[in-house]
Amino acid sequence: MLLKTCIRNVPQCLTYRTAVVRATRSFVSSGVRSSTITKDKPAFPKGFVLDKLHNNFLDWTEEQKDIREAVAKIMEKYDDDFWLKKDLAHEFPTEVAKDLADHGFLGICMPEEFGGSARGISEAAVLLQTITESGGAMAGASCVHMNIFSLEPVAKFATHEQKARMLPGLIAGTERACFGVTEPNAGSNTLKLETMATRKGDKYVINGRKMWTSTAQRAQKILLLARTTPLKDVKKVTQGLSLFYTDLDHSKVEIKEIAKMGRHAIDTNMVFFDDWEIPAEDRIGEEGDGFKMVMHGMNAERVLVAAEALGIGYAALRKAAIYAKDRNVFDRSIGKNQAIQHPLAAHWMALEAARLMTYHAAKLYDDGVSSGEYANAAKYLASEAAFTTVERAMITLGGVGYAQEYHIERYMREIMIPRLTPVSNQMILNYISQQCLGQEKSY
């Protein structure tokens, strides 16, 4: 059909034979092979790259891909063996935190005025996914997570004088902060927290304890949520909590490390306050505003943890796919067997679905949408998809998957963390049931 079209366009004065020859030449030289003329479509690189972190995300902006590229390059210096060493030695990866800080990545979401780059949660998600995906897993993410986003209440609600005091150190990476919110008796039910902050002149006296406070051993600062009005005196349960950002005085505050299943490079602690005095000027916003301020960043937190979980899932999937391709048993790659490749394919789809949900939720947050359905759904989907992917990776590798030197077992120990925190996946199911499906609250 195309040949006819070519012949039709040849000048009438030529003989038929010359016309056919000319038409054939132009047909061939135009490189057209199919029976329809198609406009030159850009060739999108497909799917997933095995040997290195891929950057073929069609839904990401150019800027996000640039960040991905730059962070992946920096993280290349810290391979899986590096992270295994840190895990076994219970050693904080200070060199990684410093490297990321020196290249300006800690201030990714923070105001430009204080050295940050004022990017959105989408960009921070790219950063954290890349860190975990490079092999760092949760240890890599947790060594910088606090610096990246947790001071958002300060960036949003503090006075200018406070911001100038509090933000630059964290952005530059010269200061480390921990987050004291969860308590032994107040995990899912934040509003029941008991740590008291009693006003005394120009100070507050803190009494109580916090649990699961990561990086407290090495932190100079603490972001503390404490009760300034007793529960019995508030009109609404969401009132009465206040937020403080203050120096963590290691001589006055007792910090006890908790032995964990994994992520040994990053310490997690119980913190005890016994009549500990802190300056009143370290209170962020008004008394009683604490819960509202902390809630403001909750959806973003869920997106970031989702991104971290995804990275671990992809890292495990990559290892499984490479192993399946290269390992030969019974005269073929084990990946040739459908029982090996089909589950991996299913996990790729699940991870991609969770990833699209995560970045969709990130975009909603960056666009100012406050509703939490997608952020919570993203955390749920990403953590569950990543967990089952890590499990399948271990099965794919078989016996060697159980060996430390293949790193799957480290991923498995660490992937539990995004399933349990910052909110349990069961609480998310409650939330979705109530918010999206109008069901009665069960508690």
Partner: protein
């Protein structure tokens, strides 16, 4: 006293997008697998960008601009952005269709046209690309322009007046130092420098830097391949050796192999 005449310099850094150096190359159907394979800026090109940026850091206003240029498919824009994030001021993208074969001669001719159009004084590029290892563009470009060239540079020293450059070249016997009058072509070797990582603030700055898009026809480029690839095979798997216990055994084995 009258100040010495300084020669203000425009620097051009040609770069190439290749398969990432750390990727395990797989060959199938007589071709290297490029689908689903990570691509990055050629490592020697990164060194060239780094050298240009370091020269500007050292000589400040002597270097008026650093331009990165590439001949490649739409995807090659990625490496131009990396070059901008490392410190280049602007970029030129001579865009060809995905899958087009671009040979070193065509690249050199394109660069010649651009040099003549914009008036560059210093062209620094990688000594070779890690995919074809041709190592031709630098030399051919110097020939086309009639410029002096120094290849496999392991040290570049620019004169303070911007008129001369001293380059230490890595050759088989050791180091050869040459001095040339600008304009020149320099190709980089591995030990010249260690390229910097792009920082987030620089990535942000790079977004505002201009990228000029050109078509091959804008440079009267003839991209017809002159070379035909007949076959590509992976190197044969390494054969195991054998351990011997004494010198006599070594001699016996060598005789057996017909070497002695």
């Amino acid at each position: 006293m009258r100040p010495t005449n300084v020669n203000l310099l425009k620097v051009l850094v040609p770069i190439k997008r290749t398969i990432d150096y750390a990727v395990k190359i797989r060959v199938s159907n007589g071709q290297v697998e490029t689908n689903n394979v990570k691509h990055s800026m050629n490592p020697f090109c990164e060194i060239a960008v780094e050298e240009a940026v370091r020269l500007r850091e050292k000589h400040k206003s002597l270097i008026t601009s650093i331009t990165a240029i590439t001949l490649g498919p739409p995807k090659a824009l990625d490496i131009l952005r990396t070059a901008l994030a490392m410190g280049a001021d602007q970029a030129i993208h001579v865009e060809v269709k995905e899958g087009t074969i671009v040979e070193p001669l065509a690249v050199a001719k394109a660069l010649q046209k651009v040099v003549e159009r914009d008036g560059y004084d210093f062209v620094v590029l990688g000594k070779q690309a890690i995919d074809d290892d041709a190592s031709q563009v630098g030399g051919v470009l110097a020939g086309l322009l009639g410029w002096p060239q120094a290849n496999f540079a392991s040290k570049v020293e620019l004169g303070d007046d911007g008129k001369k450059v001293k380059v230490a070249r890595e050759i088989d016997g050791g180091l050869e130092t040459v001095e040339m009058d600008l304009p020149v072509v320099v190709t980089t070797d591995l030990r010249l420098n260690e390229p910097r990582y792009a920082s987030l603030p620089n990535i942000m700055k790079a977004k505002k830097k201009p990228v000029e898009k050109l078509k091959p026809t804008d440079l009267d480029l003839d991209l017809t391949p002159r070379l035909e690839t007949i076959n590509v095979t992976a190197p044969p798997a390494r054969q195991g050796g054998a351990k011997v216990g004494s010198v006599d055994e070594v001699v016996a084995k060598l005789k057996e192999a017909g070497v002695l």
